[in-house]
Symmetry: C2
Subunit: 228 residues, 2 copies
């Protein structure tokens, strides 16, 4: 499904080189449930943004379903980003002037085949699944930090994408609410979706069955874990 080969992401800051990714290779099959861990600054979000086709590497190859992403047209990339991948950003990236409902509807608007009346129903049900059925008309600054995070989760799931990339989806949530969100990801995995999750919390990573650890832009460990 996803093949990353020798990926580098290097930033030139004046005369200093920052190697966010320093040669990363990983293969991900369909319907895997992977957690990406590692210290702050080790390259987790950088790797997620590359897999999510939101950024381009400095060098290295990245294949989706056998096709090299570097050879794809903008339309093909947009299709992957909007239809195949659901992305939960570490910084939520909600539209500040839109309500929760409008924010969650956004991926459905790009998906031209869904009628407006259907969109609203799908967005409301996604918000209910993350426990925010009573916050549909709140704008982001009228929500708590964890509520904004959950709107970002609802937006990523509303289009029922095959691959879900979630960057620290429970960082602002208390344990009970965090486990409710993880139950959603577990369900989606059971239904055949591929889940890739960045987390720094071991009990959240325990939901996955493979852990990829990054350290200073390199993979320091890639192990299958046994789920109870």
């Amino acid at each position: 499904l996803i093949q990353v080969k020798d990926l580098y992401k290097i930033y030139q800051m004046g005369n200093v080189e920052v190697r966010a990714l320093d040669g990363v290779s990983v293969d991900i099959e369909s319907n895997e449930y992977i957690s990406i861990m590692g210290p702050s600054g080790s390259g987790k979000s950088t790797l997620m943004n590359l897999i999510g086709c939101l950024d381009t590497p400095t060098s290295g190859d990245f294949f989706m379903d056998g096709v090299n992403v570097a050879t794809m047209t903008d339309d093909e990339l947009a299709h992957i980003r909007n239809k195949q991948i659901g992305f939960v950003f570490q910084t939520f990236n909600l539209l500040p002037k839109s309500t929760s409902l409008r924010n969650v509807e956004l991926p459905l608007i790009y998906n031209g085949s869904i009628k407006a009346s259907e969109r609203k129903g799908m967005a409301i049900s996604a918000l209910e699944r993350v426990g925010l059925g009573d916050r549909t008309h709140h704008k982001p600054n009228e929500l708590s930090g964890g509520q904004r995070q959950r709107v970002a989760v609802a937006r990523a799931l509303v289009n029922d994408p095959a691959i879900i990339l979630a960057d620290e989806p429970t960082g602002n949530l208390d344990s009970k609410t965090g486990e409710e969100i993880m139950a959603l990801f577990d369900d989606l995995h059971q239904q055949g979706n591929t889940i890739i999750l960045v987390t720094h919390e071991e009990h959240i990573a325990a939901h996955a069955n493979r852990v990829v650890r990054l350290l200073d832009g390199k993979i320091s460990e890639d192990v299958l874990t046994h789920r109870a």
Copy 2:
């Protein structure tokens, strides 16, 4: 030091009333180390913003050193916010176009008595204390999520404020980096500062010696905990 009496914060959303705080009373002595916990949306950030003099309540009283904050002039409030309180925001609130160094220097610029050359040295040492001595010239979008959070911590501490209000200061940090930041707060508490910390992680709350739990805008528990 801090006395909160019957505080309410109510938002009117059309015909729905949202009670972010629904009658909260709490007394905080000097040099206490308190963690505030509770589910997502329970009112933790709202309470922190009121204690940090960044917001005004709908009703109720709030005294700092025996003086009712509602009777203070804007200058007196600004003095408290800039000199007595260091605030780590849940959303970091860094200036996007300024480097880490400039962001951390900001509270020192308000403090008219510090020379420019001194300011730079204080800001660099604050960034070194949070492990970001090699990221002084990065702007926020050139940093990882956890690095931005640590710049926000450095900015809150640089002025050596008597009271530190930290809203989820380790939400984006791996355990090791999180513990390094907690060691900073522990040190400041040992030196006589008052620390009030919102967290959803029990092992982070364990650094404090009192836990105040919020539930639906009310205090559900307020207990002293025994630190090892």
